[in-house]
């Protein structure tokens, strides 16, 4: 299960290591770390958002070990993608490695390819794909589109974006 966790670190060196150690000890797979160093909390701590993949039964243990290390755990929740967007890709979508394209989005942790419809009418004819991307917020949608834009340029794919996003 994918879990998001908001924690707060003291604003002194070495804190991140104290936060990451319990995760590795509990064999949780860390997907993203968003470290908001500029946005100190009123308590003068540094807010950090983690997204990890772990079994639900491990969560209490992870939380306890983090707190033992002096890390404040503010919120633990199932990771929710609040925004989604559809994008059409046209070109040699499959031959240029569709899995790669999906991986580039998925490995961000803040977004994932949730659905894919693919049409390959024949060899040497352009394929078309409709991709649905889910992300945690609007900003992350834009970031994943930027990634997709780079990948599309490399693979010579035409990316058709919805009219209401910045192209």
């Amino acid at each position: 299960m994918r879990v998001s966790m908001d924690i707060e670190l003291k604003d002194v060196p070495g804190q991140m290591l104290l936060a990451l150690q319990p995760l590795s000890e509990c064999r949780a797979n860390l997907i993203t770390v968003l470290h908001h160093h500029q946005k100190l909390t009123p308590r003068k701590t540094v807010p950090v958002q983690l997204v990890l993949e772990t079994r639900p039964e491990n969560i209490p243990d992870i939380k306890a070990r983090l707190e033992e290390n002096g890390i404040k755990v503010v919120r633990v929740g199932e990771h929710r993608f609040r925004e989604s967007i559809n994008v059409v890709l046209i070109g040699h979508v499959v031959h240029t490695g569709i899995q790669d394209t999906i991986d580039e989005i998925d490995k961000t942790g803040f977004a994932e390819v949730a659905d894919l419809t693919l049409s390959m009418p024949g060899i040497d004819i352009l394929s078309s794909a409709l991709i649905k991307i889910n992300a945690v917020g609007k900003e992350e949608i834009q970031k994943s589109l930027n990634i997709l834009k780079e990948v599309s340029a490399k693979k010579d794919l035409l990316m058709v974006l919805p009219i209401d996003v910045q192209a």
Binding site: N86, V87, V88, S119, S127, L158, V160, P162, I163, A167
Partner: protein, 332 residues
């Protein structure tokens, strides 16, 4: 009655549309106190001239029958330079590489202090600033509503009807040929190549459709909007352009099943000018079909305002020329 002596330079589809509209609207113009007298009709082979006013019906008939109105060997540029009149209606073909004859004609007209109404995008795409400044210095009126969106009012709409409103952006479909192709590809589940061939047969696409399908025509119109409405000084090179040649029927169908159509959308604001195929929700005001054009203006005070209309066609485009003509001389 005020007499407006004018020349029609360029007698292709749009020039002929202007002649038809002037014949149709003769009484209307006279009731307004305007005697619009065409003293020269010029095509690529020569001209028909008459200081008292040429017979437009006869010009149309001869053009149809013989392919030209030429009775005298004289060019548009020579007419502008040597014959007394007030207004040049410039409807020669668009050339976006050099500006073509249109650019020379417009500059010569301003040099003589003549007013210009045009449907020719080329000169405005290349030399907007120079043309506007030359016209202003000469005291000439310069109107070009017909260059963007055919009959659909955009430029005068933004500058006059919506005067006082800060326009934040304009988004729309500014090329009827692309709209037709994309609409028909979805309807027929047919390939781009098949529908392009159909469009050529119907005269909707030109024999060389590059300008339209590669998004160049849309980009030129955006440049004119950027300069005329947003006060920028841009040219074609500043536009980020993607056309529709790669669009597949499968992509259109997938998008449709997902509640969207794919349209070639031009977008202009102070920061960016962009042309690309985009996903447009089926019930969105910009999701118009066939050869229609549409533009949505995002305004500071009035919010979003959308206009739609026929983007091409001789009489339709001539209607924009007529409204420019009326707006120049009505108040004088």
């Amino acid at each position: 009655m005020k007499t407006v002596r004018c020349s029609i330079i360029g007698f292709g589809a749009i020039g002929q549309g202007v002649a038809e509209v002037l014949l149709m609207k003769k009484e209307y113009l006279e009731n307004m106190g305007l005697d619009v007298r065409v003293i020269a009709v010029v095509d690529s082979r020569g001209a028909t001239l008459s200081p008292e006013g040429v017979d437009l019906a006869d010009c149309l008939a001869r053009k149809k029958e013989k392919g030209t109105v030429a009775q005298e060997k004289i060019t548009g540029l020579e007419v502008i330079k040597s014959i007394d009149h007030e207004l040049v209606i410039e409807t020669t073909p668009t050339n976006i590489e050099t500006g073509g004859a249109g650019l020379q004609n417009m500059l010569a007209a301003f040099e003589k202090g003549l007013d210009v109404v045009t449907s020719n995008k080329g000169p405005l795409t290349l030399k907007y600033r120079e043309l506007v400044e030359t016209a202003k210095a000469a005291g000439s009126k310069f109107r070009f509503e017909a260059t963007v969106g055919g009959s659909m009012p955009v430029i005068n709409f933004a500058k006059e009807v919506l005067a006082g409103n800060n326009i934040r952006s304009i988004k729309g479909i500014l090329n009827g040929t692309c709209n037709y192709i994309l609409t028909r590809m979805l309807e027929e589940r047919a390939s781009y190549t098949d529908i392009l061939a159909e469009s050529m047969e119907l005269g909707i696409a030109e024999t060389d459709p590059t300008y339209d399908v590669e998004g160049i025509d849309t980009a030129c119109k955006l440049v004119i909007l950027a300069n005329a409405i947003f006060g920028l000084d841009t040219t074609y090179g500043d536009v980020d352009v993607t056309g529709i040649t790669k669009i597949t029927p499968e992509a259109l169908e997938m998008a449709y099943e997902n509640g969207h159509v794919i349209k070639l959308i031009g977008e202009v604001s102070r920061d960016r000018i962009h042309v690309a195929p985009r996903l447009v929700p089926i019930n969105h005001p910009l999701a118009v079909g066939g050869t229609l054009n549409v533009a949505s203006l995002d305004t500071e005070l009035a919010g979003e305002i959308t206009v739609t209309g026929k983007g091409a066609g001789s009489v339709e485009t001539a209607s924009a020329i007529l409204s420019d003509l009326v707006s120049i001389y009505r108040e004088q």
